[in-house]
Symmetry: C2
Subunit: 327 residues, 2 copies
Amino acid sequence: MPISREVHLITRPHGMPQASEFEIVETNVPDAADGQVLVQNLYMSVDPAMRPRLTSGQALNEAMMGGALGRVVQSKSPDFAVGDLVNNRLGFREYFVSDAKGLSKLTPAEGLPLTVHMHALGMTGFTAYGGLLFIGAMKEGEQVFVSTAAGAVGSIAAQIAKIRGGYVVGSTGSDDKAAWLRDEIGLDAVINYKTQPIRQALEEATPKGLDVYFENVGGEHLEAALRRMNTLGRIAVCGMISGYNEGQAPVRNLSNIIYSRVMLRGFVGTDFMHLQPDFQRDMAAWLREGKIKYQETVMDGITSAPKALIGLLEGANSGKMLVKLAD
Amino acid sequence: MPISREVHLITRPHGMPQASEFEIVETNVPDAADGQVLVQNLYMSVDPAMRPRLTSGQALNEAMMGGALGRVVQSKSPDFAVGDLVNNRLGFREYFVSDAKGLSKLTPAEGLPLTVHMHALGMTGFTAYGGLLFIGAMKEGEQVFVSTAAGAVGSIAAQIAKIRGGYVVGSTGSDDKAAWLRDEIGLDAVINYKTQPIRQALEEATPKGLDVYFENVGGEHLEAALRRMNTLGRIAVCGMISGYNEGQAPVRNLSNIIYSRVMLRGFVGTDFMHLQPDFQRDMAAWLREGKIKYQETVMDGITSAPKALIGLLEGANSGKMLVKLAD
């Protein structure tokens, strides 16, 4: 019966969360009963999507929810053996007992760090892969635009588009990120939308128009892209950060899609689960060959979890933010 | 060598065209030379899309362009026989000689008036058929909304949706048209968008949400529909009459498509030409069985063509506007 430390939210934040709104609590975790497994979390994922749950959704004074990668340390389930790695939604704690229903077994990719399963080889990378190749139906050598191209999903989408022989334009919000996209990732053109007018910059960056737009922003980004879409172009809508509040970020030139016969399609990763085997094979190979680059920030120990979350929301991370809980 | 009368534009209109801006001119049409056919037009189509061409595109002092259905009266082409019916873009004239490149042969549907090939069994009906069933991928019994449902394309789309067992809501701009849609066409709900707020009216008319929106309007219509789309819904974008001028008719809630994973797709009829055999079979059967209703206004003789065009633009027609040129 291990002792587990877990992170509780004790007060709801207003604006930026404060360390004092969280508490680290020790708890005794029971042994696995029949049909159950006891899991030790190795890494937990810290994501921007957690912020709204702190305001509403996340219960106070209990272990917080969040993505994690753990290892089975006791099993009374026929489906899991001791040593199995499992993806779970019970992060922010060191150990938990589970009836195993919310767990999915992970076969670690050989020759790669385990953490890639938390981003490039996980749902983040899969969303980029399916969004670009299935929803966006990108073909070899096409003209591609990725917004927030230095972001978790965007940076993978942009690199897959390069691997597939595309001419790839990315937008981002800082000169540092723009330099990374240009110099490290090798995009064909990079737009800093905070210092360049997106409409004009995109026009100049896309002399052959656009076949695929991997959309994360909405509003002016989408208007600029709609002006550049080629006939039968595809817009894979992964997010519209500028338009999450209705009433903001109007789009005025949607009628452009008619004569160019453009498709826009909203999606989430579960829309193309049949691509998982292809994705695992392709992405593991690309990572091994160094064709997909990623950034991650790994903080150490459960006690650093609140700081990791606050740091993420303040932009202190480079790439994926993780907390390492155990070896 | 027949004498052909043809309609010339002699002065460009400002605002509503005037009869004095057109002239009926007699011309001698040569006999067909090798590889050519001589065609007598039987019916010509009068369409709203002609208006912008009068301002720009249509040459002055020559026969105007427009869709027509004609009959081959002389043939020196191996591809056509005397008596063949041909669709052509050389309306607004009684006869013409052609190298046959722009002609497509028409096999008239048995038991139906020839004029249905100019609307319900022609490109208008095909646009509705493919837009609803292929682009919109409407399945039996789904929830469907058609804007400008009393229009040429909309009225066919709405009726096909009914035939396919859908719950169908239509919008239109007058009480007369609303009554026709409700009483003659049998739609499940009809919205007069000039007297009812579209957002509230559509919400009340769609208790089960929307699976398919056949879009002809854009702007507030689209915003209202986006609020009602079910998961994996499809928006087939045939037109956006309210948004043809960039800067008008903004859409503010496009991000709705993400979590509902909705697709929008602009299209034209040539995007699904492989469906022509299915369309011809289905639509001819529906017309024979009286399942598809249509309205047409047929004026008589080439000299009435300017009046027919002006009448169309003034809304004097019910349904498709045609001019009959010969039996």
